[in-house]
Symmetry: C2
Subunit: 301 residues, 2 copies
């Protein structure tokens, strides 16, 4: 595998981050009838973040051989769902995290009611962005398919179900298989949707490519979560933006608690390699995705 | 005005309620990966309720001269948004209501985390229902327009902005104009969307009809809210399903507190008449809507 150089990929990451930041800023400057809500929505969305999901959407459209700009809508939509889920996740009744990305969580910077409403509004906006996008390259049928995929990934067949399983798992002993289902829903579903929405943003995508990218996404989704669990034990509070060991202190089952650190690391690496193998039908244009599969298990925050 | 008889209209209401109940039941039996979440979503959605918004969607498709069944999707989608908003509204950090429709609110019957997630999942489902509907009568373009209208009505340009304005208004003195803006967002936007989605469910709808129905909806939306404020003062705890005077006890500005009971009643009646007048371009097929405009200001719960 002959991957692009690290500086070239760093430039790619930055380009994706700038694109989605700019698109989000535009969508968040839509008329909002409450100044406080508008400010809280921007606070929740425009204060940094790795933008992993948008990067995956952009890398997926590149893998199909199309232009980055056609995936702006997909990138924005998946990031809005991700940001809304973080705002609700941090609430006292959920994970009760006062900090996010090193700054006060929305419910601390504003208040709980505003945090609930901010998450709600960001979710609506995600679907609005897809339905209302003016990119002629995306047909109405494909946009509806995007709404379907994203609503399934975000809702009771995906992320929200995973969060419910997670919140009821606190203090319980889970089997590895149950942990895997929980994470494939909680994190995996939206990561898969990010890749799928990115790919669908190109009219050129074939069924075979779509399937290959979906398998890729399933593997990196799980790898991503395992690495999160590893970082919760080994990471640094400053780079994580949240206290290290917060899963442990909440007595949450994790890959590290079930497998041990060494086996968890081995599993993350294996999944990353499987993800790369799934890209076999795609040419060199998928190199960013190949690199991301490695990056995800090597990241330190 | 020669309106249908009361028994005929009662039968119409029941027919609409049965249709939407059945459609909701189908959508809520989709695979949900957490049994507890699935149960909470059904609890939040299938335990009664007036179904005013679905009834408006159904009455609007009748006004266009089309069949009720073509508005099932629209009726379901608006009701899911309404139910999600009630679940979040009742949370301790919001209105802190322990009862809804005479039974414990979701956060009491389950817990706060589950209530937050249930609302989130119901919102996703609303968009999924529209995007995924198999009614051939509705074209892809129209379904995207429905997603746009509903997401705007539900989000930061509509309902959620109204709720934020409402929650920051507690204990404050609002002018009548500010109260009107707040309510036009909080309740009015989704009522208007209900009528619009119902109308768009028929391919026969003309621009003139759509505009007339939208004006109708703006007037009944406000009338509905004023009547809510009146019932909070004059209603009966048993029929309301929540304690009478809960707005007063929370020191919320209302039409009754600003205008007095007599003037509030007069304003509701005037708006109801304006709504009927807006239907002038529509024929006898809009009689259900005409009757609903009266019903809304005469209802006792």
């Amino acid at each position: 595998m002959n991957l692009p150089s690290s500086p070239a990929l760093q430039a790619f990451l930055e380009q994706c981050q700038q694109r989605v930041e700019s698109a989000l800023t535009t969508h968040l400057s839509n008329e909002v009838r409450s100044e406080r809500l508008s400010a809280a929505m921007q606070y929740a969305t425009l204060k940094g973040g790795k933008r992993i999901r948008p990067v995956l959407a952009y890398a997926s459209i590149l893998a199909i051989g199309d232009e980055l700009k056609h995936a702006d809508t997909a990138a924005c939509a998946v990031e809005l769902i991700h940001c809304y889920s973080l705002v609700h996740d941090d609430l006292p009744a959920m994970d009760n995290d006062d900090f996010r990305r090193g700054i006060p969580a929305v419910h601390k910077a504003y208040d709980e009611a505003t945090a609930i409403l901010t998450g709600d509004a960001l979710q609506s906006l995600a679907f609005q962005v897809i339905a209302n996008c003016s990119t002629d390259a995306i047909s109405s049928n494909v946009r509806l398919r995007m709404v379907t995929i994203l609503s399934e990934a975000a809702g009771a067949q995906g992320m929200v179900a995973g969060q419910e399983l997670d919140s009821t798992a606190v203090g319980k002993q889970l089997e590895l298989a149950q942990l895997e289902i929980m994470h494939s829903l909680k994190t995996g579903a939206l990561i898969k949707a990010s890749v799928q929405l990115g790919a669908l943003s190109s009219p050129a995508v074939t069924d075979e490519q779509f399937q290959a990218l979906s398998r890729y996404a399933e593997n990196i989704g799980l790898a991503f979560q395992i690495q999160d669990d590893i970082l919760d034990v080994t990471g640094n509070t400053d780079t994580l933006g949240k206290p290290r060991g917060s899963d442990q202190s909440q007595n949450k089952p994790t890959y590290v608690s079930l497998l041990g650190l060494g086996a968890a690391r081995a599993k993350a690496t294996e999944l990353s390699e499987r993800a790369v193998a799934a890209l076999e039908p795609l040419t060199q244009s998928a190199d960013e995705l190949r690199w991301l599969a490695q990056f995800i298990v090597k990241r330190v925050h």
